[in-house]
Amino acid sequence: MLQNEKLDELAGRCGEWLRGTGPESDIVISSRIRLARNLGDFPFIRRCTTEDRMAIERTVAARMNKIQEWNHVRYVSVGELSEVDRQFLVERQLISRELSESEGPRAVAIDPNEQFSVMVNEEDHLRLQVMHSGLDLSKAWEQINHLDDLLEGAISYAVHPKYGYLTACPTNVGTGLRVSVMMHLPALVITRQIDKVFRSLQKISVTVRGLYGEGSQFTGDFYQVSNQITLGKSEQELVEQVGEVVPVLIDYERRARQFLVDQSEQDLHDDVSRALGILCTAKKISSEETMHYLSKVRMGVNLGLINTVPVKKINELFIHTQPAHLQKLHGRLLGSSDRNVQRASYLQQHLSGEDCGPAERN
């Protein structure tokens, strides 16, 4: 395992889950599964002293170092990172906001392809996560199940004969498993059907949240569909349960897109093209505005209305225009207003010549 390597090298790349490939990738961004695990002979994080946290880290790191296939896995002490580096890992979905903002010894192990990460001392002692591009739940489950077996090695987890894996929050007990499928649903938002769709989902134990969900505001029309319960069903059953809902949502979104096309293809074409125009020519632009227009452009690309930008590029821009990424790519810290200028220039640089009208081509 590699210890505390520089993160800068990651900045210019996009994680494997943003490749924009995989089944149904026009609507499904990524399939993610996480497992919560706790060491049996330590209190849960809430009652841990700093020494306990350090001992947990030592135990886990020692185990990780013994795993041969993990030679290129990067181990990062999150407490030693600057704020912008921590935010950077949050934007890439490699760590949670909770791990970034909490205090005390804590860490994350990240694989070179960014397909999996293991957070240490988050809400639970261990949070394993696997992320694949597109709708690929069964492969993601296979991979995380294997990682869980590898990591367990000599570690004794907290397990109850009746309740299964024990977790700090009773909402995660049993399997400790959370399946999250991230979906891009702009047409359901435009046609105002999204609330109705979500309310119907709640009846079947599936929850929906926005991407980077701060408060109740969703950004960029991204939604995460997850299982609500973790106890009483097997891991495969929980994965299947979410897996069955996703195609229904895909179908709704496709129909809403078709409805928009049928209603007025010209209006829709105009709308997505204007969005691209703004992204290509703006001189300062906020993160929210960028997400808003990128979302329209992404739908335009997937409907064949915009032919000059690949989806992978759009996916990348969603991440690269986030505050911490922008600062890392720029190589220095920027205030919010400088970021807006830098973001506009970054967008122009990466989209210009791609369909931005004659003025940009001169």
Binding site: R46, Y157, H160, Y163, C169, P170, R199, S216, G232
Partner: protein
């Protein structure tokens, strides 16, 4: 009747039954009702807290509640009151110690009380032994806090013995005496 958030007429009258404070009636216009109904599903903490509040109000007197709140785990020391507020437990043994109080909550959240999935590959040490290790750690911290280093080092030896699988403690305790720092 006007909407409680703006000047438009209230066309939606919503009674929220799951509010921890008890049923709440809201009068909203269409826009605010849409906003309210599309709120993000509550965070796990909020849902644990509200599920608990709901469940605790049913069939328990104030005295019973106060007594439950004072109940503390002998291993990690967390009180039920602290758990109720934080939505997080203190150690694995809480699931045993608070079992009768947690089961209604678990069944409320998961609609089930029995795990049907994967189990660890290797046989885990007994839960009692794990709980004993947590308890020893806590006692050691307390000893360090009151600067009783002699007691702290005794406990550390017991812990080492427990971890090496030797419950007698004697030999391991003697061996580790020398590595005092």
């Amino acid at each position: 009747m006007k909407c409680q958030h703006c000047e438009k007429p209230a066309t939606f009258h919503i009674t929220e039954l799951t509010d921890p404070e008890g049923p709440k009636v809201m009068h909203l216009c269409e826009d605010h009702a849409r906003g309210f109904l599309s709120q993000e599903s509550p965070s796990p903490i909020a849902s644990v807290a509200s599920a608990l509040a709901k469940q605790l109000k049913l069939g328990q007197t104030k005295e019973e509640l106060a007594e439950l709140d004072r109940k503390a785990c002998p291993v990690c020391g967390i009180t039920f009151y602290e758990f109720r507020n934080a939505g997080r437990l203190g150690c694995p043994y809480d699931y045993t110690h608070f079992q009768s109080d947690l089961e209604p909550l678990l069944s409320n959240i998961h609609d089930s009380l029995e795990h049907h999935g994967k189990r660890p590959k290797r046989a885990a040490p007994t839960a009692d032994r794990q709980a004993h290790a947590i308890q020893l750690r806590r006692e050691m911290d307390e000893a360090v806090e009151r600067e009783d280093y002699e007691r702290a080092s005794e406990i550390r030896d017991q812990l080492l013995a427990l971890e090496s699988g030797d419950d007698s403690g004697g030999a391991a305790a003697a061996a580790s005496e020398s590595e005092e720092d």
